[in-house]
């Protein structure tokens, strides 16, 4: 029984490390797209993907250092990411982020 617990703990540790490596590779590729994207929309989408990968990285970090206090941070990253992407999209579309009167 004790052996089984150690085995699962080892499995969780190894799979978390593999996931961190995968997300790091994904972040590097997305960073390349954000630096070398031909248009501004490419860079915006790349930044959006970087933010989503950061949410995953924060969740994996919460598994590594065993804590639940990082859950608020994950939700916060998601919300700020949504608002930031919305602002970039609105700037690319209209030129203003907060306009005076929509209608």
């Amino acid at each position: 029984m004790n052996n089984l617990l150690e085995l699962t703990e080892q499995m969780i540790k190894i799979s978390t490390i593999i996931c961190v490596i995968g997300i790091s590779i994904s972040l590097l590729l997305l960073l390349y797209r954000a630096l070398a994207g031909p248009s501004n929309a490419d860079r915006a989408v790349a930044l959006d993907g970087i933010g989503i990968n950061l949410m995953g990285l924060a969740a994996l970090l919460a598994i590594i250092i065993v804590t639940t206090k990082l859950n608020d941070v994950i939700l916060l990253i998601g919300i700020l990411l949504f608002i930031g992407t919305l602002a970039i999209a609105k700037f690319l579309e209209k030129g203003v982020i907060i306009d005076r009167n929509v209608d």
């Binding site: 608020d72 608002i83 203003v96 907060i98 005076r100 009167n101």
Partner: protein, 141 residues
């Protein structure tokens, strides 16, 4: 000049803004023994308002939120100073805080601290400062 159709953005905003406001209240209340507090709660509320401003425009949001955000700054500072000065009534040093256990109808027995009032002052001040900065920058066109 074509007229853009913001139907998806507006529908999403009317749903998400309430989630953001609820999360802001959660962060404000949870600040005593979890991550969070007045500062992050104020920033979260400000981001909910910014989302509404981005999808509906300044004139429409001014109708449904008739708040001059500049007046929130002195109100928040007065709340914060008031909790500090209130400790003089009980003959203890400035900014002394205390707590007690109360039994409320729905929540059961909870711990209420006067540091909460100070945190609400921080919350109101941060909300006022952030919205003032963003709206002043957005206004010059």
């Amino acid at each position: 000049m074509y007229k853009p159709n913001d139907l998806i953005l507006r529908t999403t905003t009317s749903l998400i803004a309430f989630i953001l406001l609820g999360f802001a209240i959660y962060l404000l209340m949870a600040g005593h023994n979890s991550p969070g507090g007045g500062f992050v709660g104020g920033l979260m509320t400000a981001s909910a308002f910014v989302l509404m401003y981005m999808s509906y425009g300044i004139e429409t949001v001014k109708k449904i939120l008739p708040i001059n955000f500049r007046t929130l700054i002195p109100i928040g500072l007065l709340i914060a100073v008031g909790t500090g000065a209130g400790s003089f009534i009980f003959d203890v040093p400035f900014l002394s805080h205390t707590f007690g256990y109360f039994t409320l109808p729905i929540f059961g027995e909870i711990e209420l601290a006067t540091a909460m009032l100070f945190d609400i002052g921080v919350y109101v001040t941060v909300l006022g400062v952030t919205m003032t900065i963003i709206l002043s920058i957005a206004n010059d066109q």
